[in-house]
């Protein structure tokens, strides 16, 4: 088998070969370890590799599968976890110098879940320091340095799940775990040309994950397809008494069946007309083409508009205040000055100054917004638009000015804890990927998966990958 083919096979395709005993989990793991060791530094993709853990897990998987104990589609599949998820005995840097030597003596719930289904941890993915919790101005805001986009190494991957995006795009692992408080799964997915799922708030436990804004933090997969995202999501979703914000058992758990999901219902699509004030021409062209595909394969595609109001402002206040609270000791000790980014070194001091009344005003506005979105979802199952109005930006760009466009979609989606899935939908004239975002009502993760799956059944953008030599 050509090596590049193996690198870019989906979880679903790899699982078939593993289950049929045509592919050895140990060989597969060694292959991805070698590839990650060789190519990872090129993209600053990993915080560290965990070869001992990986090979031990792969050997167990292989033994179990040989003896007929196949655990399911992630059994023997290698993956990377964002370096803010605790793995027992392995440094967990949160992408930031003040935490460079931090080690936990337990596994995050997500890691436990992935262990349980037999997945193989290749390593910890690089990330923006503190997931951007103290703000950042440059792509280099990371202990691991700037994450380089496999489609063009002069461009950024987006953040904060920057390493997770690079790893999947470069074929260093079949999937990676990322997190999103605001844009950190969807943006890297779009910039890197991979599929990424931001689950409904509360469906995936954050126990053992770094807290940034606890009322908005979510964990989800980046992978080669919507179907792969669904398979990983099914493994990591679930109620967890150790994270009291997780939903009750029946609302948190997710079971996935490819055939059931595709035939489950006719979806009503709302094509958003006011998500972005301006869209880069190359992105607009790809998004327009995607809209035509949707019109062909979905019975109802109508124009829709997001509610207007200072919702993005509310989201910014909530993230700022909760972030200042999460990192209070870092700010007050002055160790925030050890962060790499000039904005990260000072923004925490500013964020500490918001008043309680302003924070609560933002939370009350959130309630109004949630009701407005519930009403909008009475007319539509899904809201769809370009994931970002631009393609991957230059590594040198000052993000504070160059990526400062209004993002009501990200604000609304994250304030309301709505599930969203970004899939590749084309390329710009510079051959940079463009993402298409599907967003649904809270709890209706199956709708975004179903819609993205249907889209990917009729397109092949998700099968494209950068040429890597």
């Amino acid at each position: 088998m050509p090596t590049e083919e193996l690198a870019f096979l989906s979880v679903t395709e790899l699982a078939k070969r593993i289950e049929a005993k045509k592919l050895s989990p140990v060989a597969l793991t060694q292959y991805f370890l070698d590839r990650s060791e060789k190519l990872g530094p090129r993209y600053n993709a990993y915080a560290r590799l965990t070869p001992e853990i990986a090979l031990a897990q792969a050997k167990i998987a292989e033994k179990e599968i040989r003896s007929g104990r196949y655990r399911g589609p992630l059994h023997g599949i290698p993956y990377a976890a964002k370096d803010l998820l605790a793995v027992k005995g392995v440094p967990c840097t949160w992408g930031a110098k003040p935490y460079a030597n931090q080690v936990f003596d337990y596994d995050a719930t997500v890691i436990e879940h992935l262990n349980r289904v037999g997945a193989v941890l290749l390593g910890k993915a690089a990330m923006i320091e503190l997931a951007g919790g103290m703000g950042y101005r440059f792509a280099s805001a990371s202990l691991q340095g700037e994450a380089k986009n496999p489609w063009d190494t002069k461009c950024w991957t987006c953040g904060s799940s920057s390493g997770s995006g690079a790893i999947v795009a470069a074929g260093l692992a079949p999937f990676a775990i990322g997190t999103e408080t605001w844009g950190s799964i969807l943006c890297p997915s779009a910039f890197c040309g991979v599929s990424g799922l931001r689950p409904t708030y509360g469906r995936v436990s954050r126990y053992g994950a770094m807290a940034l804004a606890p009322s908005m933090d979510k964990i989800g997969p980046l992978a080669r397809s919507a179907e792969d995202c669904a398979r990983v999501f099914a493994a990591i979703a679930g109620h967890d008494p150790r994270d009291r914000s997780t939903l009750p058992l029946d609302k948190a758990a997710f079971t996935y069946s490819a055939s059931l999901e595709l035939n489950s219902r006719a979806l009503k699509i709302g094509w958003l007309t006011n998500a972005w004030k301006t869209i880069e021409p190359g992105v607009a062209k790809a998004a327009d083409a995607a809209e035509k595909v949707l019109k062909k394969y979905f019975s109802s595609v109508k124009k829709a508009a997001l509610p207007e109001g200072p919702f993005e402002d509310a989201g910014n206040v909530i993230v700022a205040v909760e972030g200042a609270s999460s990192f209070r000791s870092l700010i007050r000790s002055g160790r925030v000055s050890e962060l790499a980014d000039p904005l990260g070194q000072i923004a925490g001091y500013v964020n500490e100054q918001y008043s309680g009344a302003d924070y609560l005003q933002a939370q009350r506005l959130r309630e109004i917004l949630q009701k407005k979105m519930e009403t909008l979802f009475d007319s539509f199952d899904l809201l769809v638009t370009a994931t970002q109005p631009v393609a991957a930006t230059s590594l040198e760009l000052n993000l504070e000015t160059g990526l400062s466009y209004a993002d009501p979609l990200g604000g609304i989606g994250n304030l309301c804890g709505l599930p969203a899935l970004s899939v590749p939908c084309g390329f710009t004239e510079k051959n940079l990927p463009v993402g298409l975002q599907f967003m649904a009502r809270a709890g209706d993760d199956i709708a975004v998966i179903q819609a993205a799956r249907i889209y990917q059944l009729h397109t092949d953008w998700h099968r494209r990958h950068p040429k890597i030599t």
Binding site: G202, T255, P310, A347, Y354, D358
Partner: protein, 110 residues
């Protein structure tokens, strides 16, 4: 724009409107400055002059969104966001969702 809006107003009304605008602007500037001075008072020795200028800029930038947020009209009964709801629901009836026979992901199906 302001001149256009003031057309037809008598002199005393214009004066009162101008005073109100001035007072609002002064209050905003005072609030921003108070915030800056609190930071500098507590942590000033930690910052370079360039960082102090940056903090001043950030505090000024934060004010407009804050004013937009505050201007949004809310009723007394509008409570905080629904993100607290799952916890409350579970605490009211913790066993409700553990009954045998409930299909996982039922909420996601039509």
């Amino acid at each position: 724009m302001a001149r256009y809006l003031k057309r037809g107003m008598d002199a005393s009304a214009i004066k009162a409107a101008d005073a109100k605008v001035r007072e609002t602007v002064e209050n905003i500037l005072a609030e921003v400055e108070a915030r800056i001075q609190t930071i500098f008072g507590q942590y000033g020795s930690r910052f370079s002059e360039a960082q102090k200028a940056d903090i001043r800029r950030l505090c000024n930038l934060a004010q407009l969104p804050l004013d937009r947020l505050r201007a949004y009209s809310l009723e007394n009964g509008d409570g905080p966001g629904l993100y607290l709801k799952p916890l409350l629901e579970r605490e009211k009836n913790p066993l409700e969702n553990t009954r045998v026979g409930k299909t996982p992901n039922a909420a996601a199906k039509p």
